[in-house]
């Protein structure tokens, strides 16, 4: 009888599973297949070409540059968003009068769409834009830059804008994590004479690991999948200087190279999986329960 009851629950799942399969699993598998074909908009006859698309990816200078830029962007944003988010969270977890207001202020950029933020930042980052004017007003002439048009710094600029937008969101998750830590631990540590640094590293950090875990995952996957901010601020330019994997996929589709576009997408999927899953397993092991 118990077995039958179990089966019954499967009937309930079936419709959802069917819809999920039709709209997600099947296209995903199809995309995997198409990445091994020469699928093009102007040819209907598909040919299976094996690894040709992937070979093309690794022989294309622009694609290599895009992979490099994506890696830079992901690493910079993961570090930046989490470090700043954690600092803000720890600071705003203290007994400050203005903490609610400050929390709202720091969180607010992440409410806006990254598209809006990118559009707002684009004119500010011009050579004659607000940011350079501000720098000059405070006497930092040497720091003023062609933020979005200097090929060697453009990807960093975009990463900083992305950090600015999202650090408040990471802060919110860290705050939630911090508030779930019982004050008793800190009181006990205080009695034992631990410094606040020590209690941060011995109590806060370990108990915050679930939150750190989530944040690392979110920022890493988000960083590897970066598209909107690059697309709006530079469109991958100047030239190809800020191309990332996301914009390369768009470019391949635009060139009518659907097979190649899907191959880049598949590659991105594989890279994200290879990085994310071991990291997730590793971090899970480190987690402690209260």
């Amino acid at each position: 009888m118990k077995r039958a009851k179990n089966l019954y629950s499967y009937y309930m799942v079936f419709p959802a599973l069917l819809i999920y399969s039709i709209f997600f699993v099947v296209p995903a598998i199809a995309a995997f297949y198409y990445s091994f074909t020469d699928w093009r908009l102007d040819r209907i006859d598909l040919k299976f070409v094996g690894w040709a698309n992937f070979e093309k990816i690794f022989s294309d200078k622009t694609l290599i540059l895009a992979l490099k830029n994506t890696a830079i962007f992901a690493i910079v944003t993961v570090i930046g968003k989490n470090l700043i988010g954690l600092l803000l969270a720890v600071a705003l977890n203290m007994r400050l009068k203005t903490k609610n207001l400050l929390r709202a202020i720091f969180y607010s950029p992440s409410i806006l769409s990254i598209l809006v933020i990118s559009i707002l930042f684009t004119p500010m980052l011009r050579t004659e834009g607000t940011i350079n004017s501000l720098l000059e007003a405070v006497g930092l002439h040497s720091l003023s830059q062609a933020w979005l048009t200097n090929p060697s710094i453009v990807i960093w600029t975009i990463a900083i804008v992305s950090i600015w937008q999202s650090a408040g969101f990471q802060m919110a998750i860290y705050l939630a994590g911090l508030q779930s830590i019982s004050q008793e631990y800190y009181e006990a540590a205080k009695i034992d004479g631990a410094s606040s640094w020590k209690s941060f590293f011995k109590i806060t950090l370990p108990l915050l690991l679930p939150a750190i875990n989530i944040n690392l995952m979110l920022t890493l996957i988000g960083g590897l999948k970066v598209f909107s901010e690059v697309y709006v601020m530079t469109g991958g330019g100047p030239g190809n200087a800020s191309q990332v994997v996301g914009t390369i996929i768009l470019r391949s589709f635009g060139e009518g190279n659907w097979g190649l576009g899907t191959a880049v997408n598949t590659l991105l999927f594989v890279v994200v999986t290879i990085i994310a899953i071991p990291l997730l397993i590793f971090m899970r092991r480190k987690e402690v329960t209260e």
Binding site: D38, L41, E128, A146, T149, N240, E255
Partner: protein, 437 residues
Amino acid sequence: MKTHKRKKAASIVLASLLSISLTACGSGGTDSGTSASSDNKNAKVTLELAISKSSQDSAFIQQDVLDEFEKQTNITVNLQLIPAEQTTTVLQTKLAVDETPDIIQYNLASAITDLNLERNFEILDNEPWASRIVNKDVLSSGGHLYSFHVSQDTGMQGVVYNKQIFEELGLSIPTNYEQFLAICEKIKASGITPVFMPYKDAWAANIWPAAAFADFTAKNDPTFFDDLNSNKRKWSDIPEFKTFLEQQYEVYTKGYTNTDVLSDSYDMAVGKFLNKEVAMMFMGDWLIEGVAEQDPSMELGVFPIPSSENASLGASPLGGQLFIPKKSKHLEEAKKFLDFIASKEIAQKIVDSKGYVSNLNDVTTPELPAYKQDIVDHYITPKKTVLTTDAYMLVDRSELYRLLQDQFAGGMTPEEVLKSWDEKFSQLMQDKGISGF
């Protein structure tokens, strides 16, 4: 118990499969219904005309024109307005799965690269109106008429300039590069930015080379583009191309432009001209239309890109022409629609209302805006125009635009630009399956 449950599960699956197949049958039934009715001569035919939403002011789809057509022929035209940013994708998909509209409005040069012109569209050489076309080039590809328009004015590309500033400073139109630099110097001395370069939009950097390359090859090397497209020669084989790219860059390095060329975008151009901040820009005459809309008192004109002595004005192969897909379900009726538009009366009406330069020999061109009249008198009538390189390229051109942008970002020399474009070009041609690559 177990088998009972299994049966139940199986029946659910069966039922859902059945319902799916039934719906499929249902839609199949209606399909065959419509095709049957189109064979019936008494039934009313409805033509599907697909057009980008951004072209909704197009002369071809004015309601009174469509009404008149329906009155005369008992054929209705059903418009499919496609969102602008998806036009290409939607049409590509429709053509790929044979769900084609009966008539498509698109632009010729992009149709060649985006929509596989030769495979997908009817050749219109033998249509009744074809013999009356004055300028066949603007509607043709590979020696055949593929598209239709009542206007031959598809957008002219060159140096758009402010006539008033030229007059005040006593300047005349330059006929070579040295003269052009001298003019820039004088304008700069008067405190106005000589040239506006909005190269955040990479395509804008292509206006100069697209006209300069085409003008050079038309005069000195007429077989170049045929050789190029059969992989006998390469972009980097023509040393003058390098010079033309250097020239455009020099205009920037000599300080004759806005300082932030890679941050400024095309949408700022109209404002710059209205404020008289700039005197010139390498652009199409659509910019003049845009400025005139804001301030009709502005007097702008256009002259050829001064890359070499007495260059011709670049004629953009862009513009919105009508095409008939080969797989159109109502081929005859679609052609009737073109006949109707081309009829003397209707074409005259369209040409008059839009201020077009007529492309039919029995339809007279109305009084044109001054700049357009200028173009007609000085370039179109004496045949001093040249189709820009866009007309000859069979592949997506955006990588070339990016490379040009790279030149201005300091990342590439003109030589490297042409070399890299050679590589990308041959890869794109190869992907496209063009023989010789």
